[in-house]
Structure formats: structure tokens, C-alpha cells
Symmetry: C2
Subunit: 118 residues, 2 copies
């Protein structure tokens, strides 16, 4: 058995604060990212904070995609967790990087569910 899941973590910096604070903009981006990853959305939960910031998660048949935004820092934290060989988590990440227009980003890819070290 190899890994069970792939977990892509993305830090977005210098993104537009107005967009990062717009729940519907965030939701649209996550749903598009799920499609880019070839994932099927089966649930979602979004929340807008006072005074600012949005959290959103879409549960997909292949795991989840989440985002948390800090408009005041032009920052968003993205997680894309997928299982199965058909899904394309990096494509979801690339979509969100482009969608956000973030001027800087940092991405790391982690394997999840590897029997050895766990």
C-alpha cells in the first residue's frame, strides 16, 4: 500500500483584500477549484467573520478543499486534500493561485496515510 491521500497546502500573499473578504467570490473559487481537480462536491460550509475574513470548506467525494482568508494581510491559506488517482489536487491549487491574482504564493505537497511512519 502506498499513500492514501495527497494534501496540498498553499499560502497566497498579496491577494486583493476586497475579494478575500467576499464570501461569494471565495465560494466560486472553491467550486471552480473542485472542478479543476476533477472532484465532485458533496457538501459545503462557509462563514464570514466580523470585522473581516472568510472561511470556507467544500467536502468533495475525494476529500476536501478549504480556504481561510485574512484580508487585512492580503493572505489566504488553502488546503486541498484528495484521494484517488483520478483527482488532480495541484490543478485545484493552480486554479486558485490564478483566480486570486496573488502576487506571491508558496505550495507544498504532503503525502497522507503512509503506513510506515504513522
Amino acid at each position: 500500500m502506498q499513500k492514501l491521500g495527497t494534501h496540498v497546502l498553499v499560502e497566497l500573499w498579496q491577494a486583493d483584500p476586497v475579494q478575500l473578504d467576499d464570501l461569494e467570490w471565495v465560494r466560486r473559487g472553491l467550486l471552480q477549484a473542485a472542478a479543476a481537480a476533477r472532484c465532485t462536491v458533496v457538501g459545503q460550509a462557509f462563514h464570514r467573520y466580523a470585522p473581516q475574513g472568510v472561511s470556507g470548506v467544500v467536502v468533495v467525494a475525494e476529500s476536501h478543499i478549504s480556504v481561510h482568508t485574512w484580508p487585512e494581510h492580503g493572505y489566504a491559506a488553502i488546503d486541498i486534500f484528495t484521494c484517488g488517482e483520478r483527482s488532480l489536487p495541484e490543478a485545484a491549487a493552480q486554479h486558485l493561485i490564478a483566480y486570486s491574482g496573488a502576487k506571491r504564493h508558496f505550495m507544498q505537497v504532503l503525502d497522507r496515510g503512509i503506513p510506515g511512519p504513522g
Copy 2:
């Protein structure tokens, strides 16, 4: 500015397959974990797969807690993402480790939203 968020990743192994396949058992564990972390639940989404496995996410006012289970491997992948100095993500992790009765676990703690490298 220091980090904006703390991201705790937990691998649970040798957990009970029947419990891992029980959506309500998973939901109860996540809600208890949110309380242990001093987080306030603001949304949730759960899904049970066919033939087996559960995905669940609770969005909390301090970010999110997610779990994906593979009953056939006795495995669950947990993510606890929190912001703010008041929340206790490791307490949520410890709760889920104990709640699941997993015989083996592996935990790592990542900083998210550090301006330097991103």
C-alpha cells in the same frame, strides 16, 4: 507579524473500522474536539461514502477541523487549523486520538501564514 495560523495534522492508525465508518460517531468526535480546542462551531458538512468511509469538516470561528476515514485500513486523516492565541489545536488532536482509541498515531504541527517564506 508572526504566524497567522497553526495547522495540526494527525494520522490515526489501528482505529476501529466500525466506528470509522459511522458518520454520527465521527461527527460527535469532531464537535467534542472543537470544544476541547476552545473553538466555536459555525458550520459543518459530512459525507458517508459507498461502500465505506466518512468525510467530515466543522468550520469553526477559528478555522476548521476535518477528518477523512478509511475503515478498510483502520486509518483516519485529521486536520486541525486554528488561528488566534486562545485556541488549543493540540488539545483537539489529543481528544481525537483518545476518542478513536487508535493504537498508533503520528502528529505534526505546521505554522501557516508566515510572511517570510511565502
